[in-house]
């Protein structure tokens, strides 16, 4: 059998064949289908149109519905969309619907999926959101699809996919304390461009990756879509398996998969991460890379810490480390990705204060767990850029209009850099605040 990459091996197994190669079109079995409030109603519409009003989903235990985008808004249409999800979940008896306004409500789907034990090595996860690629951090094939594809999967459990060639990014060296996974992925996207991985898998490898915790690995895989990547993936190790086993409350069996020795990569790049500097993406594209040292002093109007990319406990620990004992100079919005993260901010302490207290004492505003202003949303969305202002953000995209106003400017950066910049009101190197 010729050698295959991790991505190729997962796809071969799910196509019930021994071997696949890049460029091949295959029909695969799907393990988990995830949808949310923005694409769920359309997906359900496609499902009902093609399979009939009385149709049943292919497997209720394999469908996960996580409302997260437009939750805390007075927008009637947005609220109507949650009702559509609720009714469908009741009608279909879906055990994994995380309803708004209940104890089950989670927040951002990509963080909620692993928290609730829906991500496992070796599996195929498809979701109606481009950042579904986040789950590649757990050694699975995870990618975003549209409503029509999702409606098809909902009824059949299958989908056709083209096998992507794999690019390998090797991180050598030790990550300095002033850098985070966000700096690494912004550096990669800046180097290969926002179409540099179009139709390709991006595998992250090397000691610099395996030294990262799960949340940081998720940040790496989360942003592969910003380089056009089909999926990002990291081989599972003990850190992965410990995380999965602590969260796999439904005890679903799984089989980790690894890249074969001698597997072919279409591209390979090695980074010495000990020599990197803090990175930002300037407006209006995630590949518009600059080192913080090149843009420091740029005046800002707002700072935003949140989203699937930058709203996890690791992100808030980093921000709190910088913001403790300082006041913010600009409007600063802090939005935990999920209710579990929100609880963590209320309980975990640093210097005798909860992380939430550190943020509130600094003058930052705390929001409720959801996608919030990462993608603009209805005009009453917490933190949305309703004017043409300049924001530094831990989120993932800065295309025109992404966070609201189409003339607003967004700089993407790590939580460390965003926190340091919030204190000074201008783009600031976190090393200035890390003694």
């Amino acid at each position: 059998m010729p050698a295959m990459t991790l991505t190729e091996k997962i796809l071969a197994k799910h196509a019930k064949t021994d071997f696949v190669e890049p460029g091949q079109n295959i029909w695969i079995d799907v393990d988990i289908l995830m949808t949310h409030d923005v694409c769920g109603p359309g997906t359900i519409g496609v499902f009902k149109k093609h399979f009939g009003k009385a149709a049943k989903v292919w497997d209720p235990k394999k469908i996960v519905i996580i409302p997260d985008h437009y939750i805390f808004t007075a927008d009637k249409m947005a609220n109507r969309n949650i009702d559509v999800l609720r009714e469908f979940s009741q009608e279909q008896n879906l055990p994994y619907y995380y309803d708004v306004g209940t104890e089950k409500y989670k927040g951002v789907c990509h963080i909620a999926l692993p928290e609730e034990g829906h991500t496992r090595p070796g599996e195929v996860l498809l979701g109606t959101d481009s950042h579904t690629c986040t789950a590649g951090a757990f050694g699975e094939f995870a990618t975003g699809i549209g409503n029509t594809d999702a409606g098809f999967v909902m009824g059949t459990g299958n989908l056709w996919l083209k096998v992507p060639p794999t690019m390998r990014f090797v991180f050598e060296g030790t990550l300095p304390p002033y850098l985070m996974a966000k700096d690494l992925i912004l550096a990669v996207i800046g180097d290969i461009g926002c179409d540099g991985a179009t139709y390709k898998a991006m595998e992250f490898d090397g000691p610099g990756v395996f030294a990262l915790n799960m949340e940081e690995r998720m940040t790496l895989c989360n942003m592969v879509i910003e380089a056009g990547g089909k999926n990002g993936v990291i081989a599972p190790d003990k850190v992965t398996l410990d995380f999965i086993d602590s969260r796999n409350k439904h005890k679903v069996p799984y089989t980790p998969v690894y890249t074969d020795p001698g597997a072919k990569f279409i591209y390979e790049k090695v980074y010495d991460i000990s020599k990197l500097q803090p990175v930002v993406a300037k407006p209006h594209s995630p590949d518009n890379k600059a080192f913080v040292s090149e843009v420091k002093g740029t005046k800002l109007d707002r700072a935003y810490i949140g989203s699937c990319t930058g709203g996890k406990m690791t992100d808030f620990r980093a921000a709190a480390k910088i913001m403790h004992g300082h006041s913010v100079k600009i409007d600063t919005f802090v939005v935990p990705a999920t209710t579990e993260v929100a609880k963590g901010l209320k309980t975990e302490k640093m210097h005798g204060k909860t992380l939430e207290q550190i943020f509130l004492d600094s003058g930052a505003k705390m929001g409720e767990a959801s996608c919030a202003a990462c993608l603009g949303g209805p005009s009453d969305t917490f933190g949305r850029l309703n004017q043409a202002i300049r924001c530094i953000s831990t989120t993932n995209r800065n295309f025109p209009g992404r966070m609201g106003h189409k003339e607003a400017e967004v700089f993407l950066a790590s939580p460390l850099t965003v926190a340091a910049s919030a204190i000074t009101g201008m783009i600031t190197d976190p090393r200035e605040y890390l003694a």
Binding site: A78, N81, T148, D149, F152, W160, G376, G401
Partner: protein, 190 residues
């Protein structure tokens, strides 16, 4: 769309590189449900509404795609540069272009989720060009697409541009989308 017509004619609307899904249909309008026909039409009204004015209707720019209260644009073709449709997975993006009356997009290449959605949903025909047509075609040019021979005639300038064959997506588009195609190939019961 069911079955691609052999010939498509109409006016071109020209855009640049990396036109992402937030520019094609801003997130604030994603509250409409494309599965409801009345709401499907609404996407046409807001299509391309977040493209910066200077990049709207190249090469001149500042040419609106349609006036504010219209649901359908006077254009049939979008001509764009690299990586058209990058960003989110929202199927509302090809839906918005379809609702606005766009039949064909011709770009150097596409972001893959937009491409899949356009093809599997059967909303429009995504052709790839071999030349950088967004530098050759002007907004408002009259175009005629010869689908069978993969040639684009610019009736305004009299130029003819070659396009890449549709290849493996042709049977899906000709079937009318992934559901009809899956039935044809036996992956879905009729």
């Amino acid at each position: 769309m069911s079955k691609i017509p052999n010939e498509i004619t109409g006016k071109a609307y020209v855009l640049g590189d990396n036109v992402d899904t937030d520019q094609i249909i801003p997130a604030e309008y994603l509250t409409f449900n494309p599965a409801i026909p009345e709401e499907y039409k609404q996407f046409g009204k807001y299509a391309l509404s977040s493209v910066p004015p200077a990049q709207s209707g190249l090469p001149k720019g500042n040419i609106p795609f349609h006036t504010d209260d219209e649901f359908v644009s006077p254009y049939t073709f979008i001509i764009a540069g690299k990586n058209f449709g990058c960003g989110s997975s929202r199927e509302h993006a090809p839906v918005a272009l379809d609702a606005a009356g766009i039949k064909v997009v011709i770009a150097e290449f596409y972001a893959r989720i937009f491409f899949r959605n356009a093809v599997n949903g059967g909303y429009l025909v995504p052709f790839e060009c071999t030349d950088r047509l967004c530098d050759k075609v002007c907004t408002g040019d009259e175009l005629k697409l010869d689908v069978l021979n993969c040639k684009l005639h610019n009736l305004t300038t009299k130029e003819i541009y070659p396009l890449n064959p549709l290849g493996e997506i042709a049977p899906i588009l000709n079937a009318g989308g992934i559901f009809a195609y899956a039935k044809q190939v036996g992956m879905l019961k009729s």
